[in-house]
Structures are given as structure tokens and as C-alpha cells.
Symmetry: C2
Subunit: 329 residues, 2 copies
């Protein structure tokens, strides 16, 4: 294992410390594990919390700030944070308007966030939640019943976060978050695995000429493994499955071409070149495109494509001001 | 060579096409090779142009937009653009106030940008230039006489770009660009090489336990190769050389922890954790920190640290609005 770290057992703590030291104008850390909250608590709005295992940076701490999240809770690498940690995060950001939890659909995350919500509700805090499940690759997976929540989650942070800034009620913020979930689909692939520091060896092996199609954000298997093909053919394969899942005909979409952590931007732009062409051919209008690393798997090399079918409300909220370390609009 | 591409000979073109299709609100492409310019030409200000070989994404096309560059010229991977291409870029953005070229110190780049400037001056366009040389690692290199221009160049784009937006004259924009160059220092390292697509094999080899200290942004050798050490010790080694080069005592600095293309954010934050601690110990105040991929070497894994010693003018210009695909302020 060749990594730029100090010690396996310090990876998560030193990473979060390094993030907080980089962005004191945006975030501060609570004294209960790796929970970061907005540097200045914003009252009078619904507060958003998200999180999950570490290893998905900039998710989720990088999205804490104006117009997105109020708190992000990070467990050990690829491991759900504990209910206690999530509960502390909820308490720190709770306002009279309540708290919305944005949870990616992984069994451990869903269970722990729900337990934290129960603890908070016993203290009189209003809590609602949504579960993202945008990955069209597989129905169930190693760690999930139902579809996995992957990069499309970032659109939920952005759009529900913007709605919360308008002063909307908890039910309204939850409703728009659910609308994003209902309209976003993602699929990914990888050509190189990542190594969880505490494990020390890759989570899976790929031959020099192989790729994994439909991979999850922890390197969980996808639909199948096959010989590496040209970028355009890979894009066609992923888009075919995404476009078959809901009706994108005649719609306007936001596109996210998301790198898995070690994918050079060069390759992501080559991917987007084909994504844009295919959508144009099919008469699907691209409203806005995001190319970069939003939801990673440490140093996995690969990408995912997310398409969000937009309406006027989502467009307006997508464009609204966001000021966070990793996402500005 | 395992890459997500279509064909080696199409890498640069499809990458730039994919970038332009992602960001039509920011950039458009000229019909003379891979030259991108602001989607809406801005009159009444000094126009900035930069560029170099491809492979450094998001540099330089990702920095075209309000408050930074007006044009970016991309040659083949790690190869200077031709004088003709640069000349076309200059012509497309030239205003009555003139054009400032920001050139990284590599022999081919300097020669070709200077030839392009001569061509433009014969057409009556006012052109000035600065040469960035922030890398403290080595005095000369494979491709350079004098120090190399590396990630610190992005601070020149930001600060000189902001100055140009104020309507300042060419000499003033050039002067502040030079002030940044005089005050910024960088040093980098790598644990994994990159592969130039047309070459098909890594530019250098490193053992499973080795790192290269002082590496350049094309994988050129640095000061030495040694056994991989903990992140904190590597940071100390790089900072020692940076801090010895100019007097940072009692000053305020901007920090950039730049990933080389395949470095997970997790590692960059662990690096910043130490950078912040060392600067605090030495009484050097951090004004603002940037952690991410700004000046890459395709899929090289490693990082560089840049420190910019600030004065009030540079602080104000660093904070001024920038709206580009890869840098927003």
C-alpha cells in the first residue's frame, strides 16, 4: 500500500483536521468524532445533515456551507458513523424549523441515521429524512437492500440546501429533496480499485485490460466485468441503462460526470464529450454540466454519470447561491 | 497503459471538446487547434492569456472566465503550443488595453509565446508577458533553464486576472503579476508516475517504497529519490526548502496544496493538516488555503505546496470575484 499518510489509525482524524484547518471560514469540528458543522450556525432555516463513511471526499464535509449542508458526519473509511455522532451533529445544527437528514442508501447508514433521529426526537427536535438511491446498476448489493445512493446525492444536497435557505418548512425541503431523488439516476465504472487504509490491500482486483461496470462507491461489484473498451463505448453502455430507467425524452437535465478519486480530469472531459453528444442526439437538453470529483472512493480510478431530470423549481434551486469548500454557485 | 480514452491521437481534441461542451457559459473554442477563449469577449480591460502543454487540467482552460484568464492555449500533452496557436489566441482576445501573457518557465513555452507576441505586435497589438518560476526544487531541469513554473502560476492567473478586471493598465497588471511571481514558492513530490498517452509507458519508474522529491509537473526529476516517509516528514522536507528561499517571517500567506491528478483529497487534507501546524508554529499567518487539483500531471500521484507571501493589494485581488469552471471566488 503506497499512500501519503502518517499512520493507518490516524487517517480519518488527520484528514478532517486538515480540512477544518483549510476552511475555517466554512467549517468547524465538534468534539465528538469527525463531525463538522457550519462555522456560523444559521438560525431560522431547516438544517441539513448528511454523511457516511470517510473516503468519499469532498463528500460530505466539503459541501458544508451556505446553500448546502449544515453538518457532515464522517465515520471510519467506508463505515457508517455511529448514531451518537450523528445525534451530536443534529443537536449542534437543530433549529426551530427542524433538521433534514440526507442519507445514502446503505444498510448501516440508514440504520444509524434513523437511530440518531429517534434520539433527537426524544429531545424535542423535529427530524425528517430522505434516502438517496440513484444507482441504476444493481437492485441489491453487498451492503444495500435496494439501490445504492451514490453521486446523485450531491444534487440533493445542492437543491434541498437551496430550498432550506429560502426559509421553507421541513416538509417542503423534504419534498424537494425527494423530488430530486425521484428524478436522478447514476451509473459508474472503474478501471482501478482503491485500498482502504486499514485493510492495506485492494478491495477487488482487475486485470490490466479489465473494467468493472456498475461499480459502487466502496468498490462493491456492479453488473459485470469485461475487457476495457474505448471511452465512448463505455459511456454508451452506462447511458443506455440510465436513460432506460425513467423517461428523459424532451426533458432538460443536469449532468454530473464524477471522478472516483484518481481519475484525471483529462479522462472525465473525454467522457463528457461523448455524454454531451449522445444527449444532443436524443434531444435531451443539457441545462448545466458538472465535471469533477464530488463523490469519490479514495483513489479508485473510474467515473460515474448522473442525469437529473429538471423542472423549473429544481433549475432555480440548482442555480441559487452556494458557498462551500467544494461547491460554489 | 490503462486509460479511459478513445484513441491516443484524439486525447487532446476530445478533452477540449468535452470541456467546452461542459462549460458553454464560460468558454468557446477557436477553429485553430485547442485554443479556448471566454464565451463573451470583455472589452475595456487587459486580456490575459496562458497555456502550455495539455495534461495539467484544470490548467489552463479551467481558469478561463471572469476575473482570471481570457484565453488558454493547449498544446499536445506536455508539449508547448505552437506560436501560430498562441497568436490566434492573442488576436481573439486583444483589446485596446493590451494583452498579458502568463508563461510558465519551460524553454519551449517561453520561446513560442515570445514568437507569438512578436507576430501580434506586428499587427499593432500591445503585448507584455511574465514568466513564472516558483519551483524551488532545482535550478535547471530537463526542459528548463532556471527554475520551473508550476502550481504557483494559478495565483498569478487569479491575482493578475482580478487586477485586469479593475480596468488597470497593461503595465500595472504586469507589475502585480510579477509581484506574485516574486512572492510565491512551490515544491512538489510524487509517489506514482503518469503515462503520456502517445508514449504509452510511464515517464519514470519508482519502486513500491520510493518517492521522488522536488518533481516537476511533467515528471521531470527533482532533487532526489528516497524511501517513502510519513506525510508529516515529507511536508517538513518540502516546507523547509520553500521557507528558506524567501523571508516569510511574520508574513501572511496564501497556501495551495495541489494534487498532481490522481491524489485522493484524503491525502491532500492530511498534508494540509501538517502544513497548517508548521506555519502556525513558525508564526506565519495563513490568510487563505486552497486544497485540490489546480495544476496536474495527468494521473501522477503526489502533491505540491505553494506559499504566496501576501500584501494588502494581493489579498484584495485574491478575494475578488472569479467565476471560471475550476476556480470561483
Amino acid at each position: 500500500m503506497k499512500k501519503i499518510i502518517n499512520a493507518v489509525e490516524k487517517v480519518e482524524d488527520q484528514m478532517i483536521e486538515g480540512m477544518v484547518k483549510a476552511y475555517p471560514q466554512y467549517v468547524k469540528k465538534l468534539d465528538c468524532g469527525n463531525v463538522v458543522v457550519r462555522a456560523d450556525k444559521k438560525e431560522g432555516k431547516v438544517a441539513l445533515i448528511s454523511g457516511g463513511g470517510s473516503g468519499h471526499e469532498p463528500a460530505h464535509g466539503g459541501f458544508v456551507g451556505k446553500g448546502m449542508l449544515d453538518a457532515a458526519v464522517a465515520g471510519a473509511v467506508f463505515t457508517s458513523p455511529t448514531p451518537d455522532q450523528i445525534y451530536e451533529g443534529i443537536k449542534a445544527i437543530a433549529t426551530d424549523k427542524g433538521v433534514l437528514m440526507v442519507v445514502k442508501n446503505y444498510t448501516g447508514d440508514v440504520m444509524n441515521f434513523e437511530m440518531a433521529a429517534e434520539m433527537a426526537e426524544m429531545e424535542g427536535i423535529k427530524v425528517a429524512h430522505v434516502v438517496t438511491n440513484d444507482d441504476v446498476a444493481v437492485e441489491d448489493s453487498t451492503w444495500t437492500t435496494g439501490r445504492r445512493g451514490v453521486a446523485g446525492t450531491v444534487f440533493v444536497h445542492k437543491i434541498a440546501g437551496a430550498k432550506a435557505e429560502t426559509g421553507a418548512e421541513l416538509e417542503e425541503v423534504q419534498a424537494v429533496a425527494q423530488k430530486v431523488i425521484d428524478n436522478v439516476r447514476t451509473m459508474g465504472m472503474a478501471i482501478k480499485p482503491c485500498i482502504v487504509p486499514a485493510a492495506g490491500t485492494p478491495g477487488f482486483e482487475l486485470g490490466e485490460d479489465e473494467m468493472e461496470i456498475g461499480i459502487g462507491i466502496h468498490g462493491e461489484p456492479g453488473t459485470h466485468r469485461e475487457a476495457l473498451r474505448p471511452a465512448d463505448e463505455i459511456v454508451d453502455m452506462l447511458l443506455e441503462k440510465i436513460l432506460a430507467d425513467i423517461d428523459y425524452n424532451g426533458s432538460e437535465v443536469a449532468v454530473m460526470v464524477n471522478g472516483c478519486g484518481a481519475t484525471p480530469l483529462m479522462e472525465l472531459f473525454i467522457v463528457n464529450n461523448r455524454v454531451a453528444d449522445v444527449l444532443a442526439e436524443k434531444g435531451i437538453k443539457v441545462y448545466k454540466t458538472f465535471v469533477g470529483e464530488y463523490m469519490t472512493s479514495i483513489e479508485m480510478e473510474g467515473f460515474s454519470i448522473s442525469l437529473l431530470r429538471l423542472d423549473d423549481e429544481m433549475k432555480e434551486l440548482l442555480d441559487a447561491e452556494a458557498d462551500t469548500p467544494a461547491f460554489k454557485a
